[in-house]
């Protein structure tokens, strides 16, 4: 279940250098429960690199990231975050249900049961369909369903609206608003203008 105590994600002095090119330097932000951090910038400005640094896939070249006041390594960060990246992270040879069960097994059960989550992303009844039979938008909604079924506070989303139609985008925006109202927080990149009237959105422009 979601905890209502306040969490915080704080980055200080972050920089990322790739192939002798400085993508960003001395970047600082602080995000608390209920807030959204939107990373903006043109292609290649380091949005995805920053998200991957937050996930721990890359080390920042300088600076540090703290979760609730502790360094990420020493905190419960990985038990409280969920990531949906460019790659869906779902197996096309498995059914929808098998994929979601695997996600729950890898972390722990969250706010919604698998069936509730499928209903929420409009995939109810698709349980036993192999993922390779789904459309790109359905796959995207499936990978976003992972956010609902695992226990997490922080969502890290890399272009979550890719290949979604208007309804899909509105749906994800609703889910994001709900998540923030429940004390969650979100870091995302998006080319699409996000429309979250009830949420405190911080913006960082990387270019």
């Amino acid at each position: 279940m979601q905890t209502h105590s306040t969490h915080s994600l704080e980055g200080t002095g972050l920089s990322c250098i790739r192939d002798d090119r400085v993508l960003f330097e001395k970047l600082a932000f602080e995000l608390v429960s209920g807030q959204v951090l939107l990373l903006e910038g043109k292609n290649g400005s380091g949005k995805t690199s920053l998200l991957r640094i937050l996930c721990g896939f890359r080390e920042p070249d300088t600076g540090e990231i703290n979760w609730c006041g502790d360094a990420v390594k020493d905190s419960r960060f990985y038990a409280q975050m969920a990531y949906v990246g460019h790659l869906d992270g779902i197996k096309k040879e498995l059914t929808v249900l098998e994929n979601l069960k695997m996600s729950v097994a890898l972390s722990s059960a969250g706010q919604y049961s698998i069936h509730e989550a499928l209903a929420k992303v409009h995939l109810a009844g698709y349980d036993d369909i192999l993922v390779q039979a789904l459309s790109a938008g359905q796959k995207r909604r499936l990978s976003l369903a992972r956010l609902l079924i695992t226990e997490n506070v922080l969502w890290i989303l890399d272009e979550p609206f890719t290949s979604l139609d208007k309804q899909g985008i509105a749906l994800i925006e609703t889910l994001m608003t709900e998540h923030c109202a429940n004390g969650g927080m979100i870091v995302l990149t998006s080319h699409h203008d996000i429309d979250l009237p009830d949420v405190d959105v911080q913006r960082i422009n990387l270019s």
Binding site: F57, R58, K91, M102, L106, S107, E151
Partner: protein, 224 residues
């Protein structure tokens, strides 16, 4: 949030995946059978020679079959992002990858054990050596998967890692090949093989404990 549940879920998922793409099981097994059946044809009607080199043939083929199957260990997970999700799990990565390695062995190593006695008889290996052959395969093939996993984890991020993978991994396979081949040879001559078997057990236990850690570290590097 239970580690054992995550561990068995990884094993089960990989077994289901292997069943759905059967070529993954069939490929190394077919290779193993084909190589061994080609030897008698190439050498000709010399049963004594064949019998003498049978342990070596079987073990070298098992080694190459294991090499052939290695790339599938992390490739698809790397390509579709499942590996990212495994690395982000709050559970220790080394335990989860051990699950993947065990599933890989069940799919690619265990079938070799099942056909090996048949092929050994085919090469004229004496019956009393069959038990030892099976024992060495049982102890040795998991080591091949465990050590191979380190190499795959290091090279999965490279576009063409196949060549480097063989160069990295094959030298590390040599001790297993020497002790296992020697044990089967000795058993064929009716000599005791306790020492070789003990060393194989030691290698297996060490690989089981030590291999998952560098695999986890190397995967973290590769995903970068």
């Amino acid at each position: 949030m239970s580690l054992s549940r995550a561990f068995f879920a990884v094993i089960r998922r990989d077994l289901v995946l292997a069943l759905r793409r059967r070529s993954e099981i069939a490929n190394p097994l077919l290779f193993f059978i084909l190589v061994i059946t080609l030897f008698p044809l190439g050498i000709g009607a010399q049963p004594h020679l064949l019998q003498a080199i049978a342990p070596g043939i079987i073990w070298v083929s098992a080694l190459l079959a294991a090499m052939l199957s290695l790339d599938s260990l992390f490739r698809s997970d790397f390509d579709d992002g499942s590996l990212e999700q495994i690395l982000l799990s709050p559970h220790p990565t080394s335990v989860l990858v051990l699950g993947k390695i065990i599933a890989h062995w069940l799919v690619t190593g265990l079938p070799l054990l099942i056909v090996a006695p048949l092929l050994a008889v085919f090469l004229g290996m004496p019956n009393h050596a069959l038990g030892i052959l099976l024992l060495t395969l049982l102890l040795g093939t998991p080591v091949l998967s465990l050590i191979g996993a380190i190499g795959v984890a290091l090279t999965v991020g490279l576009r063409r890692g196949g060549m480097i993978l063989s160069l990295l991994v094959l030298p590390l396979y040599v001790p297993v090949l020497i002790f296992a081949g020697n044990a089967v040879q000795m058993a064929g001559s009716g000599l005791p093989v306790d020492a070789q078997i003990n060393i194989l057990i030691a290698i297996l236990l060490m690989a089981l404990v030590l291999a998952p850690l560098p695999v986890a570290a190397a995967l973290k590097m590769s995903i970068n």
